[in-house]
C-alpha cells in the first residue's frame, strides 16, 4: 500500500517530499513494534518449517508400505527415540550418546583443521608473496587439491600405521587446499599502498606478516577457512567409517552393519546440523575479525 503511494507521488507530481516523510515514519514505527518483529521472525522461520513438514509427510507416505526398504519418520522416532531424546547418555565404551560421538569427531576436526589452518595460511602467504614460490608450488597444489579425501587414506594408513593419525591426516590434507589458495589470492591482492607504508616503516617480514598481511588478507583467509571446515567435516565422517573408533562416522558404519537404519537417519541429522553450525561459526568469527577491513 505504502509502496504504491510512493510510486504514485513520484509519477504524478514533481515534489517527492511527502512520500519520503511517509516512508521515514513507517520505518521509525517498525523499530518499536513487537508485532512487526514477530511477523518478521515468522516470515523467516515459517518457510523452512513448512518445507520440512511437507518433506516428512511425503517421506511418511512413501515409506509406509510394509515392503518399503527404508523406515518412515514415525518408525525412526519410535526406534531411535533414545538417540534423539538423550544425546548425552553414557553406558560404557561403545554405547554412548550421539552428542558424545559428534564431540569426538569434532575434536579430530579441530586438530586436523587447526593444523591445516596454520600450515595453509603460512604456505598461502609464501605463494602469494613470492612469484617463484607461486610458479613452483601452484601447479602442484592445483593437482593435489583435486584428489578425493579418501584416496589419501590408504597411503596415510601405510605411513602412520595407526588409524587415528591417519584420520587426522585426511582431514588436514582435505581442508588445506582452499586455505592455501584463498590466502594466496588475498595476499596477492594486498594494495600496493599498504606495502609502501610497510616499506617506509621498515617492517621486518614477521611484522609485515602479522600487522599487514594477515589483516589485509583476512576476508580471503576466512573464505578459505570456511570452505576448509566444510570439507574437513565431509572427510571426517568418511574417514571414521573406515578407521573405526567412536566418532559419528563409525557409528553410521556400525549401525549399517547391524541393520539399524533409523539410527543412521538420526546420525545424518546430527551430522548435518553440526556441519551447518561449524560453517556458521567460522563465518561469524570471520565477520567479527574482519570487521572494518573491507570498507575503504
Amino acid at each position: 500500500m505504502s509502496i504504491q503511494t510512493i510510486e504514485d507521488t513520484k509519477v504524478k507530481t514533481f515534489p517527492a517530499k511527502p512520500a519520503e516523510i511517509i516512508a521515514f515514519t513507517a520505518k521509525a514505527r517498525r523499530r518499536f513494534d513487537p508485532i512487526a518483529i514477530a511477523g518478521k521472525l515468522a516470515s523467516t522461520l515459517m518457510p523452512p518449517v513448512v518445507v520440512i513438514a511437507l518433506m516428512l509427510v511425503v517421506w511418511q507416505i512413501a515409506c509406509s508400505s510394509p515392503t518399503s526398504s527404508l523406515p518412515p519418520p514415525s518408525q525412526v522416532w519410535n526406534e531411535a527415540y533414545d538417540l534423539i531424546a538423550h544425546p548425552f547418555f553414557n553406558n560404557g565404551p561403545q554405547d554412548i550418546g550421539l552428542a558424545w560421538r559428534v564431540l569426538i569427531s569434532l575434536q579430530r576436526v579441530a586438530i586436523g583443521f587447526g593444523l591445516a589452518a596454520i600450515v595453509g595460511v603460512a604456505l598461502g602467504a609464501l605463494v602469494g608473496q613470492s612469484i617463484w614460490a607461486m610458479r613452483g608450488l601452484d601447479p602442484v597444489f592445483q593437482i593435489l587439491r583435486t584428489v578425493p579425501p579418501l584416496a589419501w587414506l590408504p597411503l596415510s594408513l601405510a605411513a602412520f600405521r595407526d588409524s587415528s593419525p591417519s584420520a587426522l591426516f585426511v582431514i588436514f590434507i582435505t581442508s588445506i587446499w582452499p586455505i592455501i589458495i584463498n590466502t594466496a589470492v588475498g595476499v596477492r591482492n594486498i594494495p600496493q599502498d599498504y606495502r609502501n607504508v610497510a616499506r617506509i616503516l621498515r617492517l621486518n617480514p614477521l611484522e609485515f606478516f602479522i600487522k599487514i598481511m594477515v589483516p589485509a588478507a583476512a576476508p580471503y583467509i576466512f573464505t578459505g577457512l570456511r570452505i576448509g571446515i566444510g570439507l574437513s567435516w565431509l572427510a571426517i565422517v568418511a574417514a571414521e567409517m573406515l578407521t573405526g573408533g567412536v566418532g559419528i562416522g563409525f557409528f553410521i558404519w556400525d549401525a549399517w552393519n547391524s541393520s539399524r537404519l533409523p539410527d543412521i537417519i538420526v546420525a545424518l541429522a546430527y551430522i548435518g546440523i553440526t556441519g551447518f553450525c561449524l560453517d556458521r561459526l567460522v563465518a561469524a568469527v570471520g565477520a567479527f575479525v574482519t570487521r572494518g577491513t573491507t570498507a575503504k
Partner: protein, 265 residues
C-alpha cells in the same frame, strides 16, 4: 655549506617487455633544510616517480639521491610519505594507525607513556585527537588525510613527502588542509616536498616551485622562487601582486611553453 637534499643527475627509465621508456632525464635539484618545495607538472610527467625516488620506493637508473650526503637507496621513516589516497590501514583505528608508525620508529628510544604523548601531540597538531578511536571508514576524506599527515609527522621525518595530498578532496576541505599544512610547516620547520597539479596551491604553500617539462624523458624546466612573506593568508594573497605574478609565471610555463600534448602519454 652542502645541500640538505641533493638530487644529483638522476635518470629513471622503466623496462617493460624489452622496451625501455625513459621517464626522467638529468634531474638536478638541491633543497635546503626547512624549505617547502612544490613539484608541478602535467599528468604523466613523472613527478610521482620523482617523489618515489626520493622516498626510496623505486630506485634510480643513474645518478643519486643524497640526503645529508648519504645516498638514499631504500625507503625509511626519515622520508615519510603522505599518500594521495591516505593509505591508512582500515582495520586499525586512527590511534592505532599512528601507533604502528610510532612504536616502530620510537619503540626503543621512547617509553610507552612517551609514545602515547607523542601520538596524541601529533593528533592534536592536525586537530584529530577527537577521532582517535574511529576507524578510517568512519571519518571523512579530509580527516583521513589529516591522520595521514599526522602519521607521517609522527615518524619525525627529515623530509616530509606529500604526494598530491589534497588531490582527492573538495575545494573547501582542500583549503582547510592547506592552511593546516602551512601552520604545521611554520611550527615545525619541516623540510617538505609536495607533488601537486594545482597552481594556486603550489604558489600559496611553497618557497620554491619546481616545474617539470612533459615526458617522456621529463626534466626540470624551471625553478621559481616565491618571495612571499610568511605567514601567508589566502584571502589577502588573492590580490597580492607578487602572488599573481608567481601564479602567472607557473601558468605560462604550463600552458604556453610546455602545453600538455595528449598523445605524449
Amino acid at each position: 655549506m652542502t645541500a640538505y637534499l641533493k638530487l644529483d643527475h638522476i635518470d629513471k627509465s622503466f623496462a617493460r617487455g624489452g622496451q625501455v621508456s625513459e621517464v626522467l632525464k638529468d634531474i638536478r635539484l638541491t633543497i635546503d633544510k626547512g624549505e617547502f618545495v612544490s613539484i608541478i607538472g602535467h599528468s604523466g610527467c613523472g613527478k610521482s616517480t620523482l617523489l618515489n625516488l626520493i622516498a626510496g620506493l623505486t630506485t634510480v637508473s643513474a645518478g643519486a639521491v643524497l640526503l645529508e650526503n648519504k645516498e638514499v637507496d631504500s625507503p625509511g621513516p626519515e622520508r615519510a610519505v603522505v599518500f594521495q589516497n591516505h593509505s591508512l590501514l582500515p582495520w586499525l583505528t586512527v590511534y592505532e594507525n599512528i601507533n604502528l608508525a610510532v612504536s616502530k620508529v620510537f619503540g626503543r628510544s621512547k617509553s610507552k607513556a612517551e609514545r602515547h604523548d607523542w601520538i596524541m601531540r601529533n593528533l592534536d597538531l592536525v586537530q584529530m585527537a577527537h577521532a582517535r578511536d574511529k576507524r578510517p571508514a568512519e571519518i571523512s576524506g579530509g580527516m583521513k588525510q589529516r591522520v595521514g599527515i599526522a602519521r607521517a609527522l609522527a615518524m619525525e621525518p627529515k623530509i616530509l613527502l606529500l604526494d598530491e595530498p589534497f588531490g582527492a578532496l573538495d575545494a573547501l576541505t582542500r583549503a582547510h588542509l592547506q592552511d593546516a599544512v602551512m601552520d604545521i610547516h611554520s611550527r615545525l620547520g619541516s623540510t617538505t616536498i609536495m607533488i601537486t597539479h594545482d597552481v594556486d596551491e603550489a604558489v600559496l604553500l611553497s618557497d620554491r616551485i619546481v616545474m617539470m617539462t612533459n615526458g617522456p624523458a621529463a626534466t626540470i624546466g624551471e625553478v621559481l622562487a616565491v618571495p612571499l612573506a610568511r605567514p601567508r593568508r589566502r584571502v589577502e594573497l588573492s590580490s597580492d601582486r607578487t602572488f599573481l605574478l608567481c601564479r602567472e609565471a607557473v601558468l605560462k610555463f604550463l600552458y604556453e611553453r610546455h602545453r600538455f600534448v595528449e598523445a605524449a602519454e
